[in-house]
Symmetry: C2
Subunit: 163 residues, 2 copies
DNA sequence: GGCCAATAAGATGATGCAGTCCGATTAATG
DNA sequence: CATTAATCGGACTGCATCATCTTATTGGCC
């Protein structure tokens, strides 16, 4: 459902969540740990820095770090600049004349659905995702696979394959 | 939210809904009346005929007509073959390890949201949309445009003139 | 057989996602 | 304080998909 780019962003954010507070992690380091193509990851992180989710620091010892506590960064903030969430706010059927007064047959349903979707993204923080990852690591890993491998596996297959 | 192709399909279906029962309407006629590019519309209608939503008839006096009563055709049937709805059925975050037992932070929300979305599409029939169009047509048109204009446009296009 | 209309198949343009490359900028260090 | 090495940032490229148009091909009908 979310695009690959968003997935990359979340993986990187979760990795950054584990770093010592205030520490900058470079793109290469994050890319190596998460399996995301380094150059592409750079673009994504730059965008997140621009929107205020990350701090960036150039030069030796520079890199990226969360601009705030993870619990204060919700998924919509991360994902919204990377994809077109706004289309969820428009009429599903694309009708120009569709508002609360003159509503298309799906208007009410869609209003509720899109509202809940946006709400879910807003109410879920990066801290929640990071905690989930720790939990599944315990279940899947059982100490057999290296943390990095488990980490990558978990996020693989993220995008729309036919069932 | 739905793709342009789906919207075209719905517009065509609504037009077909207004025809005398059993009558076949040609692609050019539908295109002229709905403002959908004729050649592209042909592709869409062929697809809908293949999936059993429309009947098609070749030769003189041929065209397309709904295969069933409008009230018996729901939106999911029309839209599903035209776009990738299935991605709504997967984990939003794309996690492989995400089910009722081990659920990603968005699992429950997303389950409800996607369920309601699919439900809304399933429970809304073409009849519902057609009724809505009739209503908004009254509001938008306000009797300014005569039916004859549409009628003439239709015939101009049938003679193969550019619009 | 000739006409007309549906069907199929292919070319084209636009858009957006995914990924690469190189130049600009900065901090550490001697 | 100049050099150097690390790193960001933006320009550029490839690819898939959507939307559209063009051009055959097939099939019914008088």
């Amino acid at each position: 459902m979310l695009t690959q780019t968003s997935e990359y962003a979340l993986r990187a954010m979760v990795y950054l969540a584990r770093q010592a507070e205030g520490r900058f992690a470079g793109v290469k380091e994050i890319a190596a740990a998460t399996g995301v193509p380094a150059n592409y990851l750079a673009k994504i992180l730059q965008q997140l820095a621009r929107t205020g989710v990350l701090d960036s620091q150039k030069g030796f010892g520079g890199g990226f770090r969360p601009a705030r506590k993870l619990a204060e960064i919700n998924l919509l903030e991360v994902v919204d600049p990377l994809e077109n969430i706004t289309k969820f706010r428009q009429c599903v059927l694309g009708q120009r004349l569709c508002n609360d007064a003159v509503a298309c047959p799906l208007h009410e349903s869609w209003k509720r659905i899109s509202g809940e979707y946006l709400g879910a993204l807003t109410n879920t923080t990066l801290q929640d995702v990071a905690d989930f990852r720790r939990k599944t690591d315990e279940i899947e890993g059982s100490g057999v696979e290296s943390p990095d491998k488990t980490f990558n596996d978990m996020f693989r297959n993220m995008r729309g394959e036919k069932e």
